[in-house]
């Protein structure tokens, strides 16, 4: 009885939003799913090829001597796999920042961005897991973590929070997708039978009744609140993998926030890149507007400043004291062998994004995209600088060892696998956007209905 009334009400509210406009919006947002162009197909083929190269490299690594295929030695026994793992965990916080935080703080411009952020988050956290397995000496014993797991070990904490975060992110990605699945089912045509069947199955019998909407909204709200502490936990626990050791370089109470703030900076940079790419590739200029770049540019400045603040705490405070424990490591970063990389990361990955986007012209799509790509690359090397030089300065000096034991530089096999993790991450995001609308139709429409112009309009 009462539900019928609300249904009627909704029909009337829909009228303030012309049916034509709504159909056009659906048409535009479903276009990437409806038709995959030649370039789109080539892009997928390219990503698959890189992934295959990675699988082959992993096969080589596991079947031959790791002493030959991998540059890891007793002192730097964690290399690019682990720094790549940290990078991907950081990247997965994009879902927390660009979807959950904006949503809860009512920044309405999150609406076209949230699904992009959540897909990247899910893909990144999966590839973080892959990176860890690639680093393992005995991946055949992976299941020991379940049957012999020790709750005292930070690795077990990390696995528990990562699995929880993957599950929560998947659910948080899936629940707002349900209405979109129904839309796909109704509007897509000339698609294979299995694909239509998949939409039907996954849409859970969605009919768009007010009661269903009510529950959907409530669940999204619960999950959005829950995903924030979870996201912060995964990266804090990842920081603890380092901070719980007795090594001076990592022995820092600052480490959790330092990692999380770095992840937020990376999240904004990755969001800018993703927005720029989707905008051009899928002709979504109407939904991903210069306004979004402007807002993200400002966010980039804020996150850079926060990250700089934690870097000052992390490096300059010990540097002021220059205790014997930190000396070797800090001097190596400031003036030693790793100095060029260190200062490049400081300028390119922190100071540049904190200052350049202050100029309004730099917050335009193209310049901001270039800035974001530099930040993105610098962020990867930042994780490299945290992991590898941190291992090369143990308390007891490294003496009388072969040259390769002292200086680590990743092997071809390692870099191929790292490249493949990036390709796989992009492949997951690409494939998702080819099967499901990458911008949530209903969320954007709903925002428009509520008269929130700032979703897509430049203000």
């Amino acid at each position: 009885m009462s539900s019928k009334n609300i249904e009627l009400n909704q029909k009337t509210t829909y009228e303030t939003f012309t049916q034509e406009e709504y159909m056009e919006m659906k048409e535009e947002l479903l276009r990437p799913v409806q038709k995959i162009g030649t370039i789109g197909k080539l892009w997928i083929v390219f990503l698959v090829l890189v992934c295959c190269a990675g699988v082959y490299a992993y096969y080589v690594q596991e079947t031959r001597s790791k002493y030959v295929t991998v540059s890891l030695r007793d002192y730097t026994m964690w290399g690019v796999y682990i720094s790549n793992f940290v990078f991907f965990v950081a990247l997965s916080l994009i879902g927390v920042l660009m979807s959950a935080v904006l949503k809860l703080t009512h920044f309405e411009w999150y609406r076209p961005l949230s699904r992009i952020a959540e897909v990247i988050a899910v893909a990144a956290i999966m590839l973080a897991g892959v990176s860890i397995v690639a680093a393992m000496g005995r991946p055949d014993r992976l299941y020991y973590l379940v049957i012999h797991g020790r709750i005292q070990s930070p690795i077990i904490w990390d696995i528990i929070v990562i699995l929880t975060y993957i599950s929560t992110s998947l659910v948080l990605l899936f629940i707002p997708l349900i209405p979109s699945l129904a839309t796909c089912q109704n509007h897509l045509h000339n698609k294979p039978k299995w694909q239509m069947k998949m939409y039907k199955m996954l849409s859970f019998g969605w009919e768009g009744t007010p009661e269903q909407w009510k529950i959907l909204k409530r669940c999204i709200k619960i999950l959005t609140v829950m995903v924030i502490p979870l996201g912060i936990s995964i990266h804090t626990v990842t920081a603890w993998l380092f901070a719980t050791t007795l090594r001076a370089e990592w022995d820092s109470t600052n480490f959790g926030v330092y990692f999380v703030s770095g992840a937020f900076l990376l999240g904004v940079a990755a969001m800018i890149l993703a927005v720029a790419i989707f905008r051009k590739a899928y002709n979504l200029e109407k939904y991903l507007t210069p306004m979004h770049f402007d807002k993200l540019g400002r966010a980039l400045v804020l996150m850079s400043l926060i990250y700089i603040y934690f870097n000052v705490n992390e490096y300059l405070v010990p540097a002021y004291k220059m205790s014997g424990l930190h000396k070797n490591h800090l001097l190596d970063l400031f003036v030693g062998g790793d100095a060029p990389l260190y200062w490049s990361v400081v300028f390119m990955g922190m100071i540049m994004p904190a200052t350049l986007p202050l100029i309004p012209a730099m917050r335009k799509p193209l310049p901001l995209t270039i800035i974001a790509s530099v930040v993105f690359i610098a962020a990867w090397f930042k994780r490299y600088l945290i992991v590898i030089p941190g291992l090369s300065h143990p308390y007891l000096p490294i003496q009388d060892v072969p040259a390769s034991w002292k200086h680590y530089s990743p092997s071809l096999v390692e870099m191929t696998i790292v490249a493949a993790t990036f390709a796989a991450m992009m492949l997951i995001v690409t494939l998702f956007s080819r099967f499901f609308p990458i911008i949530s139709v209903w969320e954007v429409a709903e925002g428009k209905l509520e008269g929130k112009d700032e979703i897509i309009n430049y203000k």
């Binding site: 020790r150 709750i151 904490w157 929880t164 629940i175 349900i178 859970f204 009661e211 529950i215 669940c219």
Partner: protein, 175 residues
Amino acid sequence: MKSIIIKCLAVLFLVATSFGRLFSQETKMTLNFTVEDSVKKCNVSVTANDTAVKEVEVKLYVKRLYSLLPIGKAAVTDETGNATFDFPNDIPADLNGKLLVIAKVEDPAAEVSKEVNWGVPRAEIAPLERSLAASREKAPYYLMIVSNLIIIGIWGTLLFVVWEVYRKRKPNYSK
């Protein structure tokens, strides 16, 4: 494990003493333990073909896992072929306080050993405590309780949300 070691020691002891007997038939040593005014004394008498051996250097040891611990300084036998050692009170021993005391003469090579109840019995080794460094079964209670509460809380919420959405998949079913 302990029984193996004891058995092995016993066999080795037998072997070692018989070994000694083979090569030094004539030199004979005896060990005697006495307590005088609460001072533990260990008397070694050396005889060769039933006559006392004078002015020969005797060393006293306690058997340890890897080696023999010398007790005091080497003593020289007197007219009667006797050497006396003060035995310390603080030699740790097994659970029963038993020590294997060995006396040796280098020239002519001879030795004798005897068990005595003079050691400080060691305490039972307490099993390893629950700690962060202990094994999986010995995780601290607080850690297990806190981690399980967090896991149950978060996964409970997650499953609840999934169940809610699933339950309402066909509006007519829920009624």
